[in-house]
């Protein structure tokens, strides 16, 4: 049985090799990083153009929206960087290559996800941190050691929510073979996470809070730092939703892995 320490050491060794391999394609890395940078900028430019016409969106100012968006960029980075392999699962399941993951004495999800480390995701993370610092300066937010600690917990929990949603969507490959449309759907809905949940009415607000909980990827956790006086109790639910969803996803993954029979080749 491997301990957590073993896994961490193992992870660093695997990724070091992976990055060395990837460095053969330096031009590719550069272009991908630029692509990542532009894709982060798209939603931001929509905000800026939109606030040219309107003073606020559901009561939130441009700079507050930038803060929520920055939180979102940081929260989606762990999914991008560490769990990128989920996009390839449909090929592995379809071709039968997935059987190889059964033959190592370690956690299968760990083994599978460790095969990719998305370096370009670091661009997104860096851009998110810069925007977060910038917008909190502009908003004059007061930070303390305690608040930074809460921020780290909130980012961790929020990123678990997205990881859970995306990995669960990708895991559907064990039953559907081609899980791309499911994953693409989750990915598309994710883009709306940085918008204020207060724009939605009853049923839909409930749905985006508890059924497809994109509200927990950015809006609910970021709210606490912007307007602590009117924070919704949902903020305190974030860690539980994150950990709970991830546990559920892990369960579904295990079910999928156990039901997979390979392709017989």
């Amino acid at each position: 049985m491997l301990t957590l320490g073993d896994y961490i050491r193992l992870y660093f060794r695997i990724e070091a090799q992976y990055i060395k391999g990837q460095m053969q394609y330096r031009a590719d890395f550069l272009i991908s990083s630029i692509g990542m940078f532009f894709s982060s900028l798209a939603t931001l430019s929509v905000f800026v153009v939109l606030f040219n016409t309107i003073p606020s969106l559901a009561g939130w100012s441009l700079m507050e929206m930038v803060f929520i968006y920055a939180f979102y960029m940081i929260a989606i980075s762990p999914m991008q960087i560490l769990f990128d392999a989920i996009w390839w699962i449909r090929y592995k399941v379809q071709s039968g290559e997935f059987v190889k993951y059964y033959f190592r004495p370690m956690n299968m999800m760990f083994y599978y996800m460790s095969e990719r480390f998305d370096i370009k995701g670091l661009t997104q993370l860096a851009a998110g941190i810069i925007l977060l610092v910038y917008s909190s300066f502009r908003l004059g937010l007061a930070w303390s050691f305690g608040k930074v600690l809460i921020l780290l917990i909130a980012v961790f929990s929020a990123s678990l929510v997205l990881i859970a949603i995306a990995v669960m969507a990708g895991t559907s490959a064990f039953w559907l073979i081609n899980s791309y449309p499911v994953l693409a759907l989750a990915w598309k809905v994710r883009e709306f996470a940085p918008y204020p949940m207060s724009i939605f009415d009853g049923v839909f607000r409930f749905a985006f809070t508890f059924i497809l909980p994109i509200g927990f990827i950015a809006f609910y956790p970021a709210q606490f730092f912007l307007r602590p006086e009117e924070v919704s109790p949902l903020f305190f639910l974030t860690p539980f939703i994150g950990i709970g969803l991830f546990a559920l996803t892990y369960k579904v993954w295990t079910l999928g892995v156990n039901s997979y029979t390979g392709t017989g080749s």
Binding site: A27, S32, A42, V49, L50, N178, P181
Partner: protein, 263 residues
């Protein structure tokens, strides 16, 4: 020409196999429309008109824009990158087939399946669920031609991006960058009327507006003079020609670096 139509048929048959995929695409588009509805409702916040567009017009623009986005997203560049990398492209080069036309017709096949399975249900939803008010006008008559021209411009750009696979290992970066530039500058995410006047002027001389803004305007403001629509089509046709010639030139450069290993 008859031979190329076989590619259209082939692509439709491949598309029909993945019925479940369409189901999720439709579901995704419905969720997107619901979110867009609420988002634009709070953007308008009771205001009658913003930048010359009513709420109904803006919602129609955004919702129809998202179905055109699905229609134009045919993954031509990804398919080409795959064929270039694994050498399948040599099969087409040794036959009397034009590689660009082969790709164009395959793409048309894929798109025609998604017109039926995604665009049509979306339009039905717009009419019956969101109860959008449609103005009456000549714009609808020009819309199909405009959409076809937008499709060709988009295809030429995808094709050019696909050609970059001759030079790099993965086209993710180039493809993503292109997609973002197109979706922001073409008016796919936001009607161009919302941009500051100076930026609007620049955007109108770029090819991107011909891919989303032009066809969408024909439906959101169909009651303009016929001359206006004809001028829009002329601009689109010019961009279709320019992007076609540019992609041809790129191809003749790129094909020189191709080396396919035997096997």
């Amino acid at each position: 020409m008859r031979g190329y139509l076989a590619f259209v048929r082939g692509a439709i048959m491949v598309g029909v196999v993945y019925r479940l995929g369409f189901l999720f695409t439709i579901l995704g588009n419905i969720i997107y429309m619901i979110i867009a509805y609420f988002l634009w409702r709070s953007i308008y916040a009771g205001r009658e008109i913003l930048n010359g567009l009513t709420f109904d017009q803006a919602l129609l623009y955004i919702a129809l824009g998202s179905t055109i986005f699905i229609l134009l997203k045919t993954y031509t560049d990804w398919g080409m990158a795959q064929e270039i990398r694994d050498g399948t492209i040599s099969v087409y080069l040794t036959k009397p087939i034009d590689y660009q036309l082969y790709n164009l017709f395959t793409t048309i096949g894929f798109a025609s399946t998604s017109i039926l399975t995604v665009s049509l249900p979306t339009v039905i939803m717009l009419i019956f669920v969101f109860r959008i008010h449609f103005a009456i006008g000549a714009g609808y008559l020009f819309f199909p031609v405009s959409l076809l021209l937008a499709f060709i411009i988009n295809f030429n750009m995808d094709y050019a991006v696909g050609l970059s696979a001759f030079y790099t290992e993965s086209i993710w970066g180039i493809s993503t960058t292109k997609e973002i530039i197109v979706s922001v500058l073409s008016g796919a995410l936001l009607p161009l009327q919302f941009f500051p006047a100076a930026i609007q002027q620049i955007l109108m001389v770029l090819p991107f507006q011909a891919m989303f803004f032009t066809p969408l305007m024909m439906v959101t403001k169909p009651d303009q003079e016929v001359g206006v629509f004809l001028q829009m089509l002329a601009v689109q046709a010019a961009w279709a020609a320019v992007t076609y010639i540019a992609s041809r030139l790129l191809y003749s450069q790129a094909i020189k670096v191709l080396r396919v290993a035997g096997g």
